[in-house]
Amino acid sequence: MSFWEYANPKKFMGWTAPVLPYVFGAAALCLTVGLVWGFFFTPDDYRQGSTVKIIYLHVPAALMAINAWIMMLVASLIWVVRRHHVSALAARAAGPIGLVMTLIALFTGAIWGQPMWGTYWAWDPRLTSFLILFLFYLGYMAMWEAIEDPDTAADLTSVLCMVGSVFAILSRYAVNFWNQGLHQGASLSLDAEENVSDVFWIPLVICIAGFVLLFIGLVLLRTRTEIRARRIRALEARARRA
């Protein structure tokens, strides 16, 4: 049995149905533990006070906003190469979730930025590239909505996703060139010398795990919805013919 057989729509519906409650349960557990621990059982930062606690929403959301696009890119590539319909539908399902993650990251960042930087918004490279990423998500979703034929829509959005990825990376470096940064560097890399202190680190990692699980659960759920919607459309078409 090959790995690809899991992408057969019937098999996909079969194995996701029992897996889904566990994914959502684990996500709820991680998020509850991580957020409660982060919000109530970590000390205040000596410079930032309690505003530092927004990190437990901001960092995982920003991470998933980028990873959702990467997942869409991989799913689009699989669709173009192997023509698995579930893959195209999963890419479509991930779009709105990535959009919401981008919005969460932008909003929590703005709320944190007001007391810390003295402004809700600055044209900082990271902030700007997230706003551009938001526009890319909008365009991608609008493209899916606009085309009626599902296969054509899947093909065109895949091409758009691939070209868009290249331009999103280009934009990322272009805004670096354009303005100096206000946003701090990565606080969670494995090779950096200076990282977030352990007290904040452990609940943050739990929160990230929670967001990853939540994303996986939502993508599976939305993909199942898309598959059902397509089945309904097929049944309706058959009923009209008969």
């Binding site: 493209m143 065109l156 091409v159 934009s171 272009a174």
Partner: protein
């Protein structure tokens, strides 16, 4: 390919409208900006590079949906697909035709409109050079966007939503080159990166455009 290019140019000139419309739009935007922000010369001088670039971007956007729409409707696009010329070549010819009818006139008209915005005297050379380097990329990216939306009945609005984020790098480097030129800084870095983007667009996007057209003609 040259025959296709000449045909498109001839159509653009004889049909009127599209050819001058972009330029007129460019002029109107440039005239509206001082009316909106006030006539202070110092303010206009400082925002002129960005305004000139944004306006040329919008003017280029205006004529994009014509690139393939008419050919798609009357079936000549399908004819092109069956001709010995590969789709990639057709995409390239279309992009070049769009650049010659919009990008090139915009580039040539921009210095004249720079006077209206009291652009710094040192910046004119950089404005001309950056538009000359950057507008081909705008045409090529726009051709890709037009190919994506060609099958849609109301593709115009979607086209701008898709294409404008793709224009971001070109806009940043182009406007930055002019701004640095106006401030007397070294603008060669921005100009080189602008050239890189244009070269990259022409290397990759004809293939993506051709793939998109084939999907749409299926």
């Amino acid at each position: 390919m040259i025959a296709l290019l000449l045909r498109d140019l001839r159509l653009a000139v004889r049909a009127g409208g599209g050819f001058g419309l972009g330029l007129a739009f460019f002029l109107i935007v440039i005239v509206l900006v001082p009316l909106g922000v006030g006539p202070q010369t110092a303010l206009l001088t400082s925002i002129a590079p960005g305004i000139l670039w944004v306006a040329s971007l919008l003017a280029a956007l205006l004529s994009l949906d014509r690139i393939f729409a008419l050919d798609f409707e009357d079936g000549s696009l399908g004819l092109l697909a069956t001709s010995p010329l590969p789709m990639e070549g057709a995409a390239l010819a279309k992009a070049l035709a769009h650049w010659i009818t919009t990008g090139l006139p915009l580039t040539l008209a921009a210095p004249a409109l720079g006077f209206l915005l009291s652009l710094a005297p040192e910046a004119y050379g950089y404005l001309l050079l950056s538009l000359l380097l950057g507008t081909p990329a705008l045409s090529m990216i726009g051709t890709f966007g037009a190919a994506l939306t060609v099958g849609l009945r109301r593709g115009g609005l979607l086209l701008s939503l898709l294409v404008l984020p793709l224009y971001v790098p070109t806009l940043i480097y182009g406007a930055e080159a002019v701004r640095r030129g106006a401030d007397g800084q070294d603008a060669s870095g921005a100009l080189i990166l602008l050239g890189v983007i244009t070269a990259g667009c022409f290397a990759v996007l004809p293939f993506a455009t051709a793939a998109t057209l084939r999907i749409n003609l299926r």
